[in-house]
Amino acid sequence: MATASEVHHTALTLTDHLPILQILIPFCTAPLIVFIGSKSLAWPMAFISSLLSLIIATTLLISVSDGSYISYKLGGWVPPVGIEYRVDATNAFILFLIAATATVVLPFALKSVNHEVPKRNHTLFYACFMLCITGLMGVVITGDAFNVFVFLEISSLSTYVLVSQGSHRDKRALTAAYNYLIMGTIGATFFVIGIGFLYMTTGTLNMADMADRLRGQGDNRTVQAAFAFIVVGMGLKAAMYPLHLWLPAAYKFAPSAVTTLLAATATKVAIYVIIRFMFTVFQPDYVFNTNILTWIIGPLAIFAMFAASLIAVFQTNFKRMLAYSSIAQIGYMMLGVAMFSTTGLTATLVHMFNHGITKAALFMGVGALMLRIGTTFYDRISGMGRAMPLTGAAIVIGGLSLIGVPGTAGFISKWMLVQAAFEQHLWWLALIIVASSLLAVIYVWRLVEVLYLQKPNSDVTLKEAPMLIVAPMWVAAIACLYFGLDTRFILDAAATAAEGLMAGSAGMAEFSTATSIAATDH
């Protein structure tokens, strides 16, 4: 019930309503695009809407970067009765990643989608695109467990549609989308079962409230089952090894713009949900006592790092190679979680961002090659580095960041991860991390040789991609370099977020202090 003071607080200033506007703007743009139904207006509306989202996300990120949080009560209903949107350092960070990716990908999509998706589907395509972003941001911003599921379904359903749009070029996109639909639905179902169990035990759906009531329920079988269902369900959505089977085909057959958006954001959002539930709802201590990190998540992450990288080495298609590399990189992120320390979590969060921009640059490179050649098989794109110098150079920069060469964003995350390993005196783990990145050297360099050292195919149009494709690609490529050197923004935001997470639900209510980190840091 809204008390007088709260009514006063939710007075009509625009800044107070930023959390809901973050969701409402793309959410309302989607039906608007369909109702107006103009093919030429669809793109501008989507772009303006994502630009507004980016501005809001940036404002939110700045206002919570000191470790505070913003709680927004939907309709003025106080949680746990009403739905609460809660923005803290962790999710403001992810919101920013999603909004920024959308804003960079859309200019790229203009040409790329024209080429890959039939004209008659454009309005629906951009509507789905906006819905997908709405869903992803909703999952991240909400403080309500059931609301996570709702937004998850919004984003998933629109993603299935977006993936299937690749069918104009290759009919296999339909089976890929169908596979993804089945797997994604199983994941979402598992997740909602988990939420159901939690609701059964606690009688609440608000995350903070849930966290409070779960305290001391560690031995409760229902809670344990809920934990298992949630981790497995979201693991499926996150393509956590060995639940990754939907990913390569979905990435490969989806239109390039969709692949870029998915690779940069969708799996990261699922990882965010895992982290949020593990650390905020279930509490770090509970997760630690289940031993799941040490015995299941950790080993699987290491296995993913090697197995998926090895598969990537033997791919003969650029797009598919990137898909397997994504699975390996998700392994790095999960390893950071499994290390269960502030530095480890920082590494995960930093890598979510850095890998996002890296993969965005690379997949836009794929899109440029797609536009000119129509496929990304190595024997068809050979020698294209010389014909398309700007695309080639951007792909090389992205590739270097994927390896983790110093001066690139990928290096920063690798450094944090290795440092986290050393902090816990796991020197063997440090060696494993760097050894696995050698596999990245192999698969990236194989691509570089194909692009630069092999004879070009004579029957392809040897022209650089249009500026609308090259410019967004270079924005991402320059971001890869910039965030490899200037780490202030990214490391501070991630460290603040990680500290908050390691402090458990205490970190949610009020910001943690250095002492509470020391207490949970193993």
Binding site: Q419, F422, A430, S437, W445, E449, D486, T487
Partner: protein
């Protein structure tokens, strides 16, 4: 001018040259003149730095912080200054030589070649001025990547294979081992700054792990070509000769041993190494590399391959100097950076001149060539004698100091190793000259003197003269380097 301005100018000039090469790709004369001017200016700037700073360690210029307490920062200290002078000074000579070689040999892609070349020099200077291990590592990797296009230049299957080995070993060792070592150091000390006397003494690192950390560094610095990670150097010989000359006799390999010395002197500290005895095993590996690669060099018929294995052997002199953990050893190692660079660049440029003039690569084909190309072969002879270490040439002094260093460390076997190595040097270098001058070949199609173009023989003649000059200036260099030993003169 401010010192920081000079430091940045020295790195900026070659970087600008890299871009002008790409912009003026078609106007070859303009492009090469601009690069030449940039090379002169870069050297002038480095000389200015030398005159301004002398042999003291300048304060740090911090650009910005990347990790807590780990900034991108630069400063000038004697060892880096020596490396900077060598790299930028020899760039001028090599650039002149490269113009002659690339045109005389009708090589393609000049703009890319000279562009990457300039980029590599910028990276080498970045390494020279780095004031912490992080900055050094950053430039170390930039150097690897900017030289890859140079190694793969010819684009032949052989070049691609060679470049793969090159990149694989250099990137592999640096990411897998050196990066681990750097982060471990940071985790143990919470700093990566280069400090005289080392930073590990007061760290949390347990004494038993010090040799392990040293091993990660020693093998991780793949550019120092310590066996068994030396294969990239012979593999990189597929590159055009100017690349082999500057990058694989001077900038890249010297960046490796320079890093090795920096790690020994400023991360571990010579005294710390001596007290803990952590570097004793490294001494043996270095000694093995010295002898083994000399033996391999003897069996190579390809001139550049032979020189490559000779480089592998000579680089380990410097690693040995660090591993001896004595002041004289470190000084000898530092001096060897300069003397070996001067000697080996002469040899490589001569090999290239022979190739340009006659297209011969195998030593067995060079019978009687000395009479055809007397200047080239005389320069080769001087360079060879300097590498062997005979007075009155520069190489004799560095070997002398290394031997004193070995004696200080009571390692008589190491003195023997250095002597055996000299004999082996004689055995694989002198026959080339003997074959050139003293054996006649009836099938030699050339009669009379027929040198390579002037741009190809003048630079090696100049560096051969440089070997002679170094003999008389070695004392100055030793005085100059004295502060790195911690002795206040």
């Amino acid at each position: 001018m401010e010192l920081s301005t000079l430091i940045f100018a020295s790195m900026l000039l070659p970087t600008l040259a890299m871009f002008t090469n790409l912009i003026f790709a078609k106007q070859s004369n303009l492009r090469d003149s601009i690069t030449f001017a940039a090379a002169l200016a870069t050297f002038a700037v480095v000389v200015c730095i030398a005159l301004k700073v002398g042999n003291v360690t300048s304060p740090k210029h911090v650009l910005f912080e990347v990790f807590p307490n780990v900034p991108i920062a630069f400063n000038v200290e004697p060892l880096g200054l020596l490396f900077g002078l060598v790299a930028s000074g020899l760039w001028i000579v090599t650039h002149v030589y490269a113009i002659g070689y690339m045109r005389g040999n009708n090589e393609s892609h000049h703009a890319r070649f000279f562009g990457c070349f300039s980029g590599a020099i910028a990276a080498a200077l970045g390494i020279a001025w780095s004031s912490n291990m992080f900055t050094l590592f950053l430039y170390y990797e930039i150097l690897t990547i900017s030289t890859y296009p140079l190694v793969v230049h010819k684009g032949t299957p052989e070049a691609i294979r060679g470049a793969r080995t090159y990149l694989g070993i250099l990137l592999g060792t640096s990411i897998a081992l050196q990066l681990t070592a750097v982060i471990w150091t940071y985790a143990a000390t919470n700093t990566l700054d280069f400090e005289l006397g080392g930073i590990l003494r007061d760290s949390t690192l347990s004494p038993t792990l010090v040799p392990v950390l040293l091993a990660l560094y020693a093998f991780g610095i793949g550019k120092a070509a310590l066996m068994p990670f030396h294969r990239w150097l012979p593999a990189a010989m597929v590159a055009p000769t100017p690349v082999s000359a500057l990058l694989h006799a001077v900038a890249v390999v010297k960046a490796g041993v320079f890093t090795m010395l920096k790690v020994g002197i400023y991360i571990f500290g010579i005294d710390f190494l001596a007290e803990t005895g952590s570097s004793e095993w490294l001494m043996w590996i270095a000694a093995y590399t010295i002898v083994a690669s000399s033996v391999i060099a003897m069996q190579q018929d390809n001139l550049k391959k032979r020189l490559a294995y000779s480089t592998v052997s000579q680089l380990s002199y410097i690693t040995l100097g660090m591993a001896l953990a004595t002041q004289m050893g470190a000084l000898g190692g530092g001096l060897h950076i300069a003397t070996h660079a001067m000697g080996k660049i002469t040899l490589f440029m001569c090999a290239g001149a022979i190739y340009v003039a006659t297209h011969k690569t195998e030593i067995s084909q060079m019978t009687g060539l000395g009479r055809t190309m007397p200047i080239t072969f005389m320069a080769f002879g001087v360079g060879a004698l300097s590498i062997i270490g005979l007075p009155p040439l520069g190489g004799s002094w560095s070997k002398w100091y290394l031997m004193i260093g070995a004696a200080d460390a009571h390692q008589q076997i190491m003195i023997a190793v250095l002597m055996i190595s000299s004999l082996l040097n004689v055995a694989y270098l002198m026959p080339i000259i003997g074959r050139g001058f003293y054996r006649d070949d009836a099938t030699n199609p050339y009669s009379g003197v027929r040198e390579a173009p002037v741009f190809c023989w003048l630079p090696p003649a100049a560096t051969a003269f440089g070997c002679l000059v170094l003999f008389f200036f070695a004392g100055r260099i030793i005085d100059f380097l004295m502060p790195i030993t911690g002795i206040v003169p």
